[in-house]
Point group: C2
Chain length 148, copies 2
DNA sequence: TATTATTAATTAGTACACTATTTATTTGCT
DNA sequence: AGCAAATAAATAGTGTACTAATTAATAATA
């Protein structure tokens, strides 16, 4: 690769990830419209459907975002009526997040989303699995490098 | 895959893309610190280094973002002293974006970034190429589907 | 030519996402 | 017990991204 090619935007892995990620998020938006949530809000609900009553920081960890990002996200879910927030009695610093009945109900609707998205982006399970593994390898490499 | 597994966040391609994209952007931030630009600003400069004097909308197209995202991005680059904005004489609606001398100088520093990032995320050229192709296929599928 | 449609950029408003800082609480240690 | 360190959330401030609406200029056409 000669020098002139070095800084072409379309040849860079990071740009491919950045733009593809946003393109897929837009496809999600269409599917999530009936549920009335955004993509990050949907991710937070997915974490809660797996385990209810967790802390704000558990949601942050699940989404791999900063706690300062999770706080307003949870507040918006509360305003939408999908979760409630409750100070922990055992430790007043903690805030436990619980699904409301409406929030639990939403799970049924959400079950249709993954298949819908698979169709929307034209990727089957097997191909998705391979890509996910590749991406997780990259994330693991970065994480390992940074923990030193 | 049984139903309980269906909505696990870590099994979803989109989440892998979303989180990996952000993880890599953070690695970029370290490399771009000396240049004093953010990752999207660096992308905009890459487009300008390829072709100077383009319109705001050309930058939007290059980055695959909305024009409404490109406008403030270019303004920030102007405030940083890397570009100037000039209304087109031929068509007053258009705004042409030109690199300043400082903006052109920055190219030399930027040449070191791709290799630095390759090391930071542990992905060599060959592996990157394969992943980029996969991601471009997905984007192409979505684009084709949406143009109908 | 006068009107309508289109185009380019911007603005308005919402929602992330980040770093750094602050507040309140709890732990650890002497 | 008393005080420093650590922890959990929240706040402050900046920079993306998006949709929808607005403004100004140009193109198209009846």
């Amino acid at each position: 690769m000669d020098e002139g090619e070095l800084l072409k935007i379309e040849d860079q892995l990071c740009f491919a990830l950045y733009s593809t990620s946003r393109a897929i998020t837009k496809e999600y938006a269409v599917l999530l419209e009936t549920m009335g949530v955004t993509y990050p809000q949907y991710l937070a609900l997915m974490v809660l459907w797996q385990r209810d009553g967790i802390l704000v920081q558990d949601i942050a960890k699940g989404l791999e975002v900063d706690q300062a990002t999770a706080t307003p996200l949870v507040k918006r879910l509360e305003k939408l009526g999908f979760v409630t927030r409750k100070r922990s009695a055992a430790d007043e610093r903690r805030v436990e997040v619980y699904l409301t009945e409406t929030g639990k109900e939403l799970y049924k609707t959400a079950l249709a989303v993954p298949h819908g998205l698979g169709c929307a982006i034209g990727v089957d399970q097997a191909r998705a699995k391979k890509l996910i593994d590749e991406l997780n390898n990259i994330k693991a490499f970065i994480a390992k490098k940074n923990e030193e």
